[in-house]
């Protein structure tokens, strides 16, 4: 299953793009996506944190992704 991942802030700089398409194998969890991204972009390991949002809500690594989900990378927020 192909997942389109959108990035903001420093995550956008790391993937050098607003979006990246990642092909997930049989494991469709957020944790699996996290591992694939970390392998492809080792810079993610250096961040203070990296969260994932699916359809505009924070999700944990165990969350199962479905086709069509809006997946967004949330590096450490710094609003306010």
């Amino acid at each position: 299953m192909d997942i389109t991942v959108t990035a903001f802030g420093i995550a956008k700089d790391i993937i050098k793009n607003k979006e990246v398409i990642i092909s997930l194998p049989s494991d469709r969890s957020v944790g699996a996506l996290r591992s694939l991204l970390s392998n492809k972009y080792p810079e993610f390991e250096k961040l203070a944190s990296l969260k994932f949002a699916v359809n505009a809500d924070y999700v944990e690594d165990g969350h199962e992704l479905k086709a069509g989900d809006e997946v967004v990378l949330i590096p450490p927020v710094s609003g306010g």
């Binding site: 959108t6 903001f8 802030g9 420093i10 700089d13 250096k46 961040l47 203070a48 949002a53 505009a56 809500d57 924070y58 967004v72 949330i74 590096p75 450490p76 927020v77 710094s78 609003g79 306010g80």
Partner: protein
């Protein structure tokens, strides 16, 4: 009344205060977050804010929902700015009104503390010789 928005235009703390003034208000507490000119001794030229807007609004709404209920607020306003923000300009304005001031103080402090933890907005400090996404690295 609740008014939550994200805008690229200048914020107006006065409009916020007026928006939440009502005949039964005993206390209005306003937090204004302005852009600082210094970070760890380095001079900041300006800031750039980026938001994942649909989710940021959703998270801001969650904050307002919780605060309004928990502290029995009458009214609450959260305005956040995005785009290029100059030094001394307002990046965020949060205003709470309630019949009693203690509640308004607690709610306002909760709101800004939580906003800084959960709302997907990112701040980039632009220096003369480079730029840094704030808090990105440990």
């Amino acid at each position: 009344m609740r008014e939550i928005f994200i805008t690229e235009h200048k914020l107006d703390a006065k409009a916020c205060t007026e928006a939440i003034t009502y005949p039964g208000a005993g206390g209005i507490v306003v937090f204004v977050g302005t852009v600082r000119d210094q970070t760890k001794g380095k001079t900041v030229k300006h800031l750039e804010f980026e938001a994942y807007e649909p989710m940021a609004l959703k998270e801001m709404k969650k904050i307002a929902d919780y605060a309004t209920k928990h502290w029995s607020l009458h009214q609450m306003v959260i305005h956040h700015r995005t785009g290029l923000v100059q030094i001394e300009e307002e990046a965020v304005v949060i205003a709470c009104s309630s019949a009693h001031r203690k509640e308004a103080f607690e709610a306002c402090q909760y709101a800004i503390d939580t906003l800084k933890e959960t709302v997907p907005i990112w701040k980039k400090e632009v220096f003369e010789d480079g730029e840094v996404w704030v808090s990105a690295h440990p």
